[in-house]
C-alpha cells in the first residue's frame, strides 16, 4: 500500500500554520449535523471529545471504566513538557522539537514533532485556564523542573500527580459539554468492531459491559484514543484493563499498524516478588536525580548493602556514562540494569533487581530534604515492599511502560481507513523509537485539544458522506460476528483460566521480545505465540454468560487480541535489523554495547497490513526524512 503522509509543504516552522489555513472549514451551523465517535476518555480522548463538543459537533464518547475520569492517563506522575522558556535557560519550540526527534532516535516524523512542540505552550495555557493546580513559585508564577535528563527545565508538574490533574481538567471540560448536550457519554462500553461503509469508518459495535448487549452506533467519523499495548507483556505499569483491542480490531478492518516493536521499558519500577504479581508499580524517574544506581561487584554478596564498601560497589551507569551518569535516557538505563543482572550481579530474592541508593543524598540534604522531594514515592515504596528506603537502598527493575508504536496515521491523524482517526498513545507518530519523559501527556493533549478539531473539519468539508443507519447490513454483520466470537469463547469450557494464558504470553514476550532481542529468541516467540493462541481457543475456561457483568469474558476477549498482536510485535522486531531507541537487537550493537542504527536500510516506518487469520502481514514503508534534526548517533557518555 502506498502511504500518503500528507505532510504540508514549506519550512518546518510554517507547515502547521499553513496547513490550518489550507484545511477546508465546516460552517458553524453545519457542525451539529456531523456525529463523531470518540473511543477512550484518557487525555487524548477526553480532550478531543470536549473540544469537538465545544465546536458544536455531535459527539458520542465511550469508555470501558465506570467513569471517564478513570482512564489510565490518570496514573502519569512526572509532568508535561512545554517550550515556554520561563526559566530563561535557552528553551524554544525548535529545541523541544530537536530534543524529541533525537530522543526518539530519529525514527519519528519531523513535521509531526514540530507541530507537537508548537502546541506544547497552548496546552499549558489552556490547562491553567481550566484550573489545573500546577506547581508554582512564591511569586505566583508557574514552576518548572528538569526531567528525564533534559538539559533545560521545561517540565510543568502538579506534585507527583500531573496526569491526574490534567485528566480531571479534560474530564471536567467534557462533562461540561455533556451538560450542554453536545457530548453523550457511554461508560462501561467496550468497542468490539469498527464498521466501514463504502470504505469509510462510519461507526462501531460496542458491548455494554453491564448487560452484555451489543450496541451499534453510527457516525461520520471515529476517533480511537484507546492507549497502548504494554499489557502484551502481562506485567506492566499499565492498568489491568488497558488493552490493544480497539486498535487491533480497526487494524483487522484495514488500518495499518506501524512500528509495533517500539516499546518502552521504564527503568525505575518496583521488582516482581512472585507469581501472584498482577502488575508493576512505577516510581517517577525523578528519583534518578538524587538516587545512585549500583550492584555489588561480587555476585551473591551476602552482606547488607550498607556494609558493602565503596570499592566493592559497581555504579554501572556512572562508570559507563560519566557525563549523564544516572540520568541517561530510559532505554539506556533499563538495558544496563538488565545487563548487570544477566551477568549474575542482580540483588534481592529474584536476583532481577538493582539498588537505587539515597544514602549520599541523605548525607547531603538530610532526611527531611530527601523527604521534601520524594516523600510520597518513599511512602509508596514502603507500603508495597515493607522496606524503609531511608535506611536501606530501594530495589528497582525495569518494566513495560509505554508503547511508541500504534496505528499508522497521516499528518491529519487519520489512519489508512478514511474517517478513522487515531489519537495519543494509540497512534505511532510522534515519539519515534523512544519517548522522552514528560512527553506522553503533551502528545495526548496536543492531539485532542489542538490537532483533531482542525483536521476532522478538513475531512468533513472535503468528503462526501451519505447517511448511514445502524440497522443496515454492515452494522448487523459486524455485530453478528462479534456475537459469534463471544459465543465461541463461552462454549470452549476448557481447563485453563484467562490469567494463566495471559501470564504465559507475558513470559514468552518478556523473555524474547523484551529489553534484549535476538533472531533466535524472536523466532522462538513467533512459533510459541501462535501455539499458545491455538491452545487458548481450545482450552480456555470462561465461566458465566454474556447477558451479565462478566469481567472474565472481558479479559478473555482482550487476551484473544493480544495473542494475535504479540506475534506481529515479534515479527516487526525480527524485521527491524537494527537497534534504535527501545528496540535493541543484540546483533546490532557497538563493541561497548550501545545501540547501532542502520539508517541506510531502516530509516523508515514499518507499517503492517492485516491479510486474514493466520496469514502473513504485508509490509508498507514510509521513508523518514530528517531535513532539520540531522541524523546522528545518540551519545550520553
Amino acid at each position: 500500500m502506498k502511504l500518503e503522509s500528507n505532510i504540508p509543504g514549506g519550512p518546518i516552522a510554517e507547515k502547521w500554520t499553513r496547513h490550518k489555513f489550507e484545511l477546508k472549514l465546516v460552517n458553524p451551523a453545519n457542525k451539529r449535523k456531523f456525529t463523531v465517535i470518540v473511543v477512550g476518555t484518557g487525555l487524548a480522548g477526553a480532550s478531543a471529545a470536549a473540544s469537538l463538543g465545544e465546536l458544536g459537533y455531535n459527539v458520542k464518547a465511550f469508555c470501558i471504566q465506570d467513569s471517564p475520569r478513570r482512564a489510565h492517563s490518570i496514573a502519569a506522575q512526572g509532568g508535561t513538557n512545554a517550550a515556554h522558556n520561563y526559566p530563561n535557560d535557552g528553551d524554544s519550540v525548535y529545541r523541544l522539537f530537536y530534543d524529541t526527534v533525537k530522543g526518539g532516535d530519529f525514527r519519528a516524523r519531523e513535521a509531526n514533532v514540530h507541530r507537537l512542540a508548537e502546541c506544547s505552550n497552548l496546552i499549558i495555557d489552556h490547562c491553567v485556564g481550566q484550573g489545573v493546580p500546577f506547581g508554582r513559585e512564591y511569586g505566583g508564577l508557574l514552576d518548572n523542573r528538569s526531567f528525564g535528563g533534559a538539559q533545560v527545565s521545561r517540565t510543568f508538574y502538579a506534585r507527583g500527580q500531573t496526569g491526574q490533574q490534567l485528566l480531571l481538567g479534560a474530564y471536567q471540560s467534557m462533562m461540561r459539554q455533556v451538560a450542554k448536550g453536545t457530548v453523550k457519554m457511554f461508560p462501561r462500553r467496550e468497542m468490539l468492531d469498527l464498521v466501514l461503509v463504502d470504505g469509510k469508518a462510519r461507526g462501531i459495535v460496542v458491548r455494554n459491559l453491564i448487560s452484555g448487549e451489543l450496541e451499534c452506533h453510527e457516525a461520520d467519523a471515529v476517533c480511537l484514543a484507546t492507549g497502548g499495548y504494554g499489557n502484551v507483556f502481562y506485567l506492566s505499569t499499565n492498568a489491568k484493563g488497558s488493552n490493544v483491542s480497539a486498535i487491533w480490531r480497526a487494524h483487522k478492518k484495514g488500518a495499518l499498524f506501524a512500528n509495533p516493536c517500539y516499546t518502552q521499558i521504564h527503568p525505575t519500577c518496583i521488582p516482581v516478588t512472585g507469581d501472584h504479581q498482577s502488575k508493576l508499580t512505577l516510581m517517577s524517574e525523578s528519583l534518578r536525580n538524587d538516587g545512585r544506581v549500583w550492584v555489588p561487584r561480587n555476585a551473591d554478596d551476602p552482606r547488607k548493602p550498607s556494609d558493602i564498601p565503596e570499592a566493592e560497589r559497581y555504579y554501572f551507569l556512572e562508570e559507563k556514562y560519566p557525563s549523564f551518569g544516572n540520568l541517561v535516557p530510559r532505554d539506556v538505563a533499563s538495558r544496563n540494569a538488565k545487563m548487570v543482572c544477566d551477568e549474575g550481579l542482580g540483588v534481592g530474592g529474584s536476583k532481577r533487581a538493582v539498588f537505587l541508593d539515597f544514602a549520599d543524598a541523605i548525607k547531603r540534604l538530610g532526611e527531611n530534604g530527601v523527604s521534601a522531594r520524594y516523600g510520597n514515592l518513599f511512602q509508596m515504596y514502603e507500603k508495597i515492599t515493607d522496606e524503609n528506603p531511608y535506611k536501606t537502598p530501594m530495589r528497582i527493575y525495569p518494566a513495560s511502560h509505554y508503547t511508541m508504536g500504534g496505528l499508522w496515521v497521516d499528518y491529519n491523524l487519520m489512519s489508512t481507513i478514511p474517517g478513522c482517526f487515531v489519537l495519543g498513545e494509540a497512534n505511532f507518530s510522534d515519539h519515534g523509537a523512544n519517548r522522552l519523559g514528560a512527553s506522553a501527556l503533551m502528545q495526548g493533549l496536543a492531539d485532542g485539544y489542538f490537532v483533531i478539531p482542525y483536521t476532522i473539519g478538513g475531512y468533513f468539508a472535503s468528503s462526501k458522506l451519505d447517511k448511514v443507519n445502524s440497522s443496515q447490513a454492515e452494522f448487523v454483520d459486524a455485530a453478528k460476528s462479534s456475537k459469534a466470537q463471544i459465543d465461541r469463547l463461552l462454549s470452549i469450557n476448557g481447563k485453563k483460566t484467562v490469567t494463566e494464558f495471559h501470564r504465559e504470553l507475558g513470559h514468552v514476550m518478556w523473555d524474547n521480545v523484551g529489553m534484549g532481542r535476538n533472531k533466535t529468541g524472536l523466532e522462538k516467540a513467533i512459533s510459541e505465540v501462535p501455539a499458545l493462541r491455538d491452545e487458548f481457543w481450545k482450552n480456555v475456561k470462561v465461566p458465566g454468560d454474556n447477558a451479565s457483568f462478566n469481567q472474565n469474558l472481558e479479559s478473555a476477549m482482550r487476551l484473544a487480541d493480544l495473542l494475535e498482536f504479540g506475534e506481529l510485535l515479534a515479527r516487526d522486531a525480527l524485521y527491524r535489523e537494527e537497534s534504535c531507541g527501545g528496540h535493541f537487537r543484540e546483533e546490532h550493537q557497538t563493541p561497548e554495547g550501545e545501540a547501532m542504527r542502520d539508517d541506510e536500510k531502516f530509516c523508515h516506518v514499518a507499517a503492517w497490513e492485516w491479510k486474514g487469520d493466520n496469514k502473513k502481514h504485508d509490509l508498507s514503508k514510509e521513508d523518514l526524512k530528517f531535513e532539520y534534526a540531522h541524523l546522528m548517533t545518540r551519545s550520553y557518555k
Binding site: M175, R176, P187
Partner: protein, 260 residues
C-alpha cells in the same frame, strides 16, 4: 512464591440490582503476605473458577492507588485497615494467619450494586456535570503566566483536587453523604482565580444535584476524612457550607431572576 497464611474470606455475592445478596464463604490457603489485597482476590477467583464457579466481581484498574476504581469495604472499613491508601495498595501483611475477612461493596442508595462488589457511581459524574468545571473552551485561554496565583492558594487547591472520586467518603458515612466529594471539587476551583467567576453558581448547582442523587447530609462525624485515601480534609466541607450560604443569599442571577 508460596505464602504461609490460611484465610477465610466472606464475600458479598449479588447477581444484579434486582436480586438479593448473600455472603459466600471461601477458604484460602498459602497466601503470601507480600500479595496485595486484590492479588489475594485474584487467587480466590482462580480457585473459584477451577471449581466451576463464577468469579467474584469487583472494580479495579490502575492498581496503584490513583484511578479511584477499586471500592471494597473490608471488615467494615472502606479501603480496609490501613490509612491513606486504596484497596489496591493494601497488602496481606496487614492480616494474620487464620483471619476471617469480610468483603462488602460500597453501600449507598445512590450507588446501586451492579454485581457483587461492583457498584454504579455515575451519580458522581452527574454532580461534576452540574458545575464541577471552569467554563473555558479550547482556544480561549490567556497566556498562562498572565494570571498570578499565590502559592498558598494553589497548594490548598491541590489538597482538594487530589480527590480520586472513589466514593469511600460516601461508603463510610452513616448518612451516605457525598459532602466531602462535592466540597473537594467546589474548594479546588474556588481557591483559584480561574474558578472564581462561577463560584456561586457552581456551589448551588452541584449541591442541588447532590441532593437529587439521593446522598444524605453531613452530621459532622468525620468518618469521610478518616477513610479518604487521599486525606481530604473536612475543612473543605465547612468552606463549601460557607460558600453555599453566601451564594444562596447573594447569587446575582438568582436574585435578579426572582426580582424580575
Amino acid at each position: 512464591m508460596s505464602g504461609n497464611m490460611n484465610l477465610t474470606i466472606k464475600v458479598w455475592r449479588q447477581k444484579n440490582i434486582q436480586s438479593r445478596g448473600v455472603f459466600e464463604t471461601v477458604k484460602l490457603s498459602d497466601i503470601s503476605p507480600d500479595m496485595s489485597f486484590l492479588e489475594m482476590l485474584d487467587v480466590m477467583n482462580e480457585q473459584l473458577m477451577r471449581e466451576n464457579k463464577e468469579a467474584f466481581a469487583f472494580d479495579h484498574d490502575c492498581r496503584e492507588g490513583i484511578c479511584g476504581m477499586c471500592s471494597l469495604v473490608i471488615n467494615g472499613l472502606p479501603h480496609g485497615p490501613d490509612n491513606l491508601i486504596t484497596v489496591c495498595q493494601l497488602h496481606m501483611r496487614k492480616f494474620k494467619d487464620g483471619d476471617t475477612i469480610v468483603v462488602e461493596p460500597w453501600r449507598a442508595a445512590a450507588f446501586p450494586v451492579i454485581r457483587d462488589c461492583a457498584v454504579d457511581r455515575s451519580a458522581f459524574d452527574r454532580i461534576i456535570q452540574a458545575g464541577g468545571f471552569v467554563s473555558i473552551s479550547t482556544g480561549n485561554a490567556p497566556p498562562a503566566n498572565t494570571v498570578l496565583v499565590p502559592k498558598a492558594d494553589s497548594e490548598r487547591a491541590f489538597d482538594a483536587a487530589a480527590c480520586i472520586g472513589c466514593g469511600a467518603c460516601v461508603a463510610s458515612c452513616k448518612n451516605a453523604s457525598a459532602m466531602l466529594f462535592v466540597a473537594a471539587k467546589v474548594s479546588h476551583l474556588s481557591y483559584l482565580p480561574q474558578g472564581k467567576p462561577e463560584k456561586q453558581k457552581r456551589v448551588l448547582s452541584m449541591v442541588e444535584q447532590m441532593d437529587k442523587e439521593g446522598f444524605g447530609n453531613c452530621t459532622n462525624l468525620y468518618e469521610c476524612e478518616a477513610s479518604c485515601p487521599k486525606g481530604i480534609s473536612v475543612e473543605f466541607i465547612a468552606k463549601m457550607n460557607r460558600e453555599y450560604l453566601c451564594s444562596s443569599a447573594l447569587y446575582a442571577e438568582r436574585v435578579y431572576s426572582t426580582e424580575g
